[in-house]
């Protein structure tokens, strides 16, 4: 029984939830228990890696904080985190966005 408790301590994320996410992937028929465990553990390692990399790489280091922009910056600049750029887009000020919209409209008007 102590072996079982020790095994439980190796992960914090609920395996059942991870399984739900995995099953939502198309073409996946079934997942063996070890694969399920590994994916759960890998996800935890990923969270740690993303948080720490973003903190070390980001602007929050001076203020001892981790903000969204640190994450977006890391996603854009790091190869390994590049797959996250769609869900971690960099934010721009509304006025800058409107300015670039205007520019695009001017370009269209030339046709």
């Amino acid at each position: 029984l102590s072996g079982e408790n020790l095994a439980k301590k190796t992960i914090s994320l609920p395996i059942s939830r991870v399984r739900l996410i995995m099953k939502s992937s198309p073409d996946v028929s079934s997942i063996n228990q070890d694969a399920l465990f590994l994916t759960t553990k890998a996800t935890e390692l990923f969270v740690q890696h993303l948080a720490l990399s973003s903190f070390n790489n980001g602007c929050g280091k001076e203020t001892n904080s981790l903000s969204y922009s640190d994450l977006a910056k890391t996603a854009e600049e790091s190869e390994t985190f590049h797959f996250l750029t769609d869900i971690l887009p960099k934010k721009i000020l509304a006025r800058d966005y409107l300015k670039s919209l205007e520019q695009m409209q001017e370009e269209d008007a030339d046709f």
């Binding site: 914090s12 059942s16 995995m22 079934s30 694969a35 948080a51 720490l52 973003s54 903190f55 797959f83």
Partner: protein
């Protein structure tokens, strides 16, 4: 299978804890950053699953196994995860072994009681799938294919 959108998210409390443990003491993590990391983690699961599944399909298997996940990690350039994953898996397997002996004993008793067959349909990894049923949460069997 009707799933609420929240079901594809990971529990915030656990994510927050993992983040806090990874960072130096006293670092302030914004709510927005926490939410974003949680979403990133879900995307990671999907990406890893898709990648691992390609390896399984290449080997003409229908069941995703440990090797597929490890191969996926390498493919995704997370080699740094491989060693800790191997170590964690060993510990996990030892724990599962103890669990399995207990559950096999229970199953023997149950079989004698109602004489039912619990044979699963997948030819491979049968043992592991039976273990799956012994998980705390009551889950549906692995045979379902529709998502």
């Amino acid at each position: 299978m009707a799933e609420k959108p929240e079901d594809l998210n990971l529990p915030n409390a656990v994510i927050t804890r993992i983040i806090k443990e990874a960072l130096p003491d006293g670092v302030n993590v914004s709510k927005e950053a926490r939410r974003a990391i949680s979403q990133a983690a879900s995307v990671f699961v999907l990406y890893a699953t898709s990648c691992a599944n390609n390896f399984a399909l290449k080997a003409k298997r229908k069941t995703l196994n440990a090797g597929d996940v490890m191969a996926a990690m390498e493919e995704m350039e997370f080699e740094r995860f491989l060693e800790p994953l191997r170590a964690a898996l060993e510990v996990y397997k030892k724990g599962q072994k103890g669990k399995k002996e207990v559950s096999e004993q229970k199953r023997k008793e149950k079989k004698q009681a109602d004489g039912e067959h619990e044979k699963n349909k997948e030819d491979e990894e049968g043992e592991d799938e039976e273990e799956q049923r012994m998980e705390e949460e009551p889950e549906e069997g692995e045979e379902e294919v529709e998502n």
